[in-house]
Subunit: 759 residues, 2 copies
């Protein structure tokens, strides 16, 4: 078979055919016989594995007859007599029947759930099946095997296709029962795929376009680690990344940004499959899309291939995959022309995009594939066994990989030690001690300056730290000095990533790097204001447990001259409202180090570290890196054992202002406490006693000082407190002038405080 001779690596055949199934006759014809003992070549992992499957009561021969309905051979085998057929043709028939089964499961699941998106899933059944049966290297018994291929369904609404494939491939996470529970509360088959819910799902998708940068991030992670760890005699990092995107993904700007970077980085092990079905929700794509998309990708630097038809035959798609694998200088874009809602009366129209089919339509679909007598959710046992070939193949590959890893450990112990730190999450013992410390007498800097020192220490201690900026490396101060830029083929081991001016893709790629789950700790930097450009990806970091560090500088009107378009005001509030996202706004060097400490430790939680452009007034006496973990703490207090008369609560560059103002008030005899509320989310989850200790309910005179939106501060200042914030868009001007205009001066804070104290 031509295709099986394509070797992915010297050791690993790409497409696993069934060399043990047939007796070849001299005439190169195949007569079918059942060699069940060969089918069970890996006896420990056949249908008797821990994955629960329906019993296989039929003999193989009976099953084949049932599968192919020989009396109706015209419709099921294309008129081919099974007794007189070569191996390739026979595999084609099997593939076709498996695809029928995939389609029927999709229809059954949608009808049962009365919800879901069958259109794309039906159209892509051949592609999905082919990937899981012939292309992807995975081990369903260990879905997180490091060296597996990564697959991303950017068009997440087509998840039913993936659920069905995962089920057939033997993933424990998707049983038939899970297919029956599609879109039900608490099921493992939610309406869009979530990596935290379903093993075998690599990333959470649904918001269109996002999967493309995720896939780019996964491919980048692979290329980077391969460059760092592979040896001429030992390839321990070697897998590919596949991504399916639909028309919606193709239109979204984020996919374009990511595609531009993928080509720039020459991520040749990335294959992007474009489901060109000419339909979106509102109708045919001609309503809003008239690009020559292949030429566009070519202009970006991609290898492009078009597959004109997959219906009923996967061979041209397989050929395209082979070509992609042979391309070693560019990522490959495969445009696959499909029919949305294939089989249904709605076929080829946007009506098939989502929702159920009417019963007559279902009946007709079943007739078309000779499925009439089968119950819903029926799986031909042959299909399970067919898919198991690939699963078994994956298991073999994993075993081989472990052998290689042993070899690597023995021959390259130093590199292996680092590699294992990564595989174990990326945090070596005692990494925290690398973080710098500051004393109140140290020269002051902007918090982005403190951050620069932290990051450049962390990169030495953390083998997985990698990241960059959306063309603001010098302003964000995140460049890893002494480390190269990630670049292929020049320096894929480089740990600085140059994202260009592409914030959204940067965040999506960072999610992919994090969800590669290989101990890489990605950071993504830009101005805080431009978090607006990557908001959805940041949300997905939190939702999908991707521990990305967002380093966001120029974090208030304090950035000065660039003015309202660049001055963040409401961004902190918006980010603080995102569930599971930690937002730190450190006040000085020690708090910056403390923020990194918590952010790095929180490997399944993303963090924002919000940093000033301008120098802060001081390294505050009383700030502590370790206290950052509580989210809020007492920085200073002159009230001794009694309660203070007033609490000033600040964050970031305004904490110094609180401290300065407190000192003015203290000189006048007032008892004043200063609290740093460096991370609301961490403070909120502290025990009630601790919160009461820091912000005693008996002290109702409280002033918060933060150069951002007042939104949310009432929670901490209470009903009688005063919030000093910014509720307009700021103004262009020198930093001290803007701060003065908006009331961020000691004079104003003292005035506000006194008006409270004198009440």
């Amino acid at each position: 078979m031509a295709i099986s001779s394509l070797l992915f690596t010297p050791h690993l055949p790409l497409f696993t055919t069934k060399p043990f199934l047939y007796h070849k006759t001299r005439s190169n014809r195949t007569s079918i016989s059942v060699q069940s003992e060969l089918r069970s070549a890996n006896p420990s992992h056949t249908s008797t594995s821990h994955v629960s499957r329906p019993d296989h009561k039929l003999s193989w021969r009976d099953e084949l007859q049932q599968v192919f309905h020989q009396p109706d051979k015209d419709s099921t085998t294309g008129g081919i007599d099974l007794e007189d057929i070569d191996e390739e043709s026979f595999q084609r028939l099997i593939d076709k029947r498996c695809v029928d089964n995939v389609r029927m499961l999709i229809v059954d699941a949608v009808q049962n759930a009365k919800a879901g998106h069958p259109g794309m899933a039906l159209g892509l059944a051949e592609v999905g099946y082919c990937l899981y049966r012939h292309v992807l290297r995975y081990n369903p018994r260990n879905p997180t095997w490091f060296n597996r291929d990564r697959f991303v369904l950017s068009a997440g609404h087509g998840c039913l296709l993936q659920y069905v494939c995962l089920h057939l491939a033997g993933f424990d996470s998707v049983q038939l029962e899970d297919l029956r529970r599609l879109c039900k509360l608490g099921s493992r088959t939610p309406g869009h795929p979530e990596n935290t819910v379903t093993d075998g799902i690599e990333v959470t998708t649904g918001p269109l376009g996002q999967g493309v940068p995720n896939a780019v991030g996964l491919a980048l992670a692979e290329a980077h680690l391969a460059a760092r760890f592979n040896k001429p005699d030992c390839t321990i990092v070697d897998h590919r990344t596949y991504c399916i995107m639909g028309d919606g993904c193709a239109m979204e700007g984020i996919s374009h940004e990511a595609a531009s970077l993928a080509a720039h980085w020459k991520l040749h092990k990335l294959t992007l499959i474009y489901d060109d079905n000419h339909n979106t929700i509102d109708g045919p794509t001609t309503l809003a899309f008239s690009e020559d998309i292949s030429t566009r990708f070519k202009a970006l630097g991609w290898n492009t291939i078009t597959v004109d038809n997959t219906q009923g035959d996967i061979s041209s798609f397989k050929d395209a995959i082979s070509a992609a694998i042979n391309e070693t200088g560019k990522p490959t874009f495969i445009r696959v022309k499909t029919l949305i809602g294939r089989l249904s009366e709605k076929e080829g129209t946007s009506k098939a995009h989502h929702g159920t089919f009417d019963e007559a339509d279902v009946r007709k679909m079943r007739e078309k594939v000779k499925w009439n007598n089968r119950e819903p959710f029926n799986v031909i046992p042959m299909v399970y066994r067919e898919m198991q070939i690939q699963a078994n193949h994956g298991e073999t590959l994993e075993r081989e990989w472990h052998s290689k890893l042993d070899y690597f450990r023995n021959k390259y112990p130093k590199e292996a030690a680092e590699f294992e730190v990564l595989l174990n999450g990326g945090l070596p013992t005692d990494w925290e001690s690398c973080l710098p410390k500051w004393s109140a007498s140290d020269p002051v800097d902007a918090t982005r300056g403190y951050s620069e020192k932290c990051v450049n220490q962390l990169v030495k201690a953390l083998p997985g730290l990698i990241g960059g900026s959306a063309d603001l490396a010098s302003s964000n101060k995140v460049y890893l000095h002494g480390y190269q830029d990630f670049s292929q083929p020049e320096s894929p081991w480089g740990r600085n990533i140059r994202y260009g001016v592409r914030e959204h893709a940067m965040a999506g790629i960072s999610n992919g790097i994090a969800l590669h789950k290989s101990g890489l700790i990605p950071f993504a930097a830009t101005f805080l204001i431009f978090s607006d450009y990557m908001k959805n990806s940041m949300r997905l970091s939190a939702l999908s447990h991707a521990g990305v560090l967002y380093i966001l500088t120029h974090d208030s009107i304090g950035l000065g001259e660039d003015g309202p378009t660049h001055q963040p005001v409401e961004q902190l509030a918006g980010l603080r409202a995102v569930p599971r996202l930690l937002v730190f706004r450190p006040a000085d060097g020690n708090e910056t180090a403390g923020a990194y400490r918590v952010a790095i430790k929180s490997r399944d939680v993303p963090s924002v570290i919000s940093l000033s452009r301008q120098k802060v007034a001081a390294n505050v006496e009383g700030t502590l890196a370790t206290e950052v973990e509580q989210g809020g703490y007492i920085v200073s207090d002159n009230s001794g054992k009694s309660l203070p008369e007033l609490i000033l609560i600040g964050t970031g560059s305004e904490l110094c202002l609180c401290e300065g103002s407190a000192n003015v008030l203290r000189k006048e005899g007032w008892k004043v406490r200063v609290v740093s509320l460096v991370c609301w989310q961490l403070f909120d989850r502290q025990p009630a006693e601790y919160k009461e200790h820091v912000l005693p309910s008996g002290v109702t005179k409280r002033v918060s000082v933060e150069a951002g939106s007042p939104m949310g501060w009432r929670e901490y200042v209470g009903g009688e407190g005063v919030v000093i914030g910014v509720d307009t868009f700021g103004a262009s001007g020198a930093y001290l002038d803007t701060f003065k205009k908006f009331g961020f001066t000691e004079e104003n804070v003292v005035k506000v405080a006194k008006s409270l104290l004198h009440q």
Copy 2:
């Protein structure tokens, strides 16, 4: 002159040369003479106009000698003897000298401000000058003349170039004093251009990429209105849109989305000028950009032109503009190769991007253009006069346009009446009466369903209502039934816009439509969750006073099966924190109508109308469209003249839940008030007495019920109140199941309320 024979319309020459300046000799040579009376062809609007300018004390001949430094003719005139020169060459010399002056003003302003972005401004000086001197049709004495060409500087950090051009062209908004006050607090020359600050700036730019969709929106508005109002004998809508974008804009996904749509819509009167200077902040573009950008634009459907050099000569750029104007089927992309920081020692490097030059560098720059003896901010009077030619031309065009409008009024009174409604802001008398009303007995619907009825009434009453969805028209229910799709050449008069899956461009284009300031009222629709994709453009709506209506449906976990990737949780909080953005979450039909009423009236304020996917429980007795204007009001109360014991505060689909829960409590004898807080921002700006009336400080037992983030609710429930919200990402499941899981049931609300009441 070849180029002047290019007619933009039959009536209007594109490039205005100086037909009155020179005596042509028989030998087609030009001897210079001064015909000041011809220079003052429009005596009321020459240098004696209200625009204050330095006195012109020099004679024209003296000035020319000074300008061209004849003794140094090698460097200033390229060796050409002014006495022996043809008209075109002479114009070239003048142009060149004007460009020198533009550059020197840029340098002076940056040095004086010790801030700003000179690099791009210097590199594009020829292009900027050429546009304002030879291309754009505008009248500085009436910067808002309807039929002016629109110019957008998407690379907003280059605004100094635009400020200088506006100054030289005679815009009152930028005096020399304003150039001296660059980036100073309160100046008319902020760090990035703001249309609300400086006349002559069409849109607010700075966040990269945004100007491109703005320009697309402006061009769409022109094409749409031209199709609706122009007559074979009377063209009253006819202008072009020009946009400059830099490398950063080119990388941003939003520009790609917008470019794709511009080509799809065949916006041939749009010209996008790409400043190809090979540099971004972090270094050469090769760090992160390796596209064949012209081919990419061609693949999208653009006409593409490359101008290899503009240094010292604008003729090839002018030729490109001519070609763009001749192209009548596609928008035109002009790639102009420039040198960032032209003249400086930093020329051609990213170091020139922002910041001042050292003094030696400034000296050398001045030497290069023979500027040594001039004071900072010097303008050669010739330059003002040269620019005034274009300004005068624009004034003539405006006069001609007014004549046309008179003709149009006489001949087509009906159309003219509609056109004038648009020019006056788009709100005809009594438009509000079109809004439907509902009574409590009417069948219930989702609020998106009520919205559909409102929008389809509004479109009949408001000639300017135009908009669409990012491929969710059927889900958002915003299709304007009976109106066509905007499409060229088929139906540019269509008022439904098909954005495809491009939320970010949709919002940016909507800003452009709104800022066309021609009475068009754009709406942009998608799911609330995908506001994340267009956050920065929404912010810019608010900042730039673009009264866009954002119709955002599927506004809570109540959307059900699609699950966490599609369930908005924190979006309302994030949007409410945006200054000047009104966020409405109406509860039923009447509140939906009320939200539209305020949103439409607020023509310089953007609004979000947040709508449910699921049916609401009832048309609530007590809701009123007119009350929406207060932002919050009492819906029901059984406490008579005394204070209630408890206040339930709800929004949107949860208001019914409050009402139902209140009724349960009332039956048990409690005095309960229900308050609808439909728009926080409007409520916040009510007088203190009104707020006290609705939420009396004496009632501390308050419960808020909103299926979204708790962020910000403390402001309304007070320190003792309880916030029922969602602080995770929701869950995939049937709507009632998810609502139950998160506590949005009468049972739970009553339970929470009682626990408060029993305290």
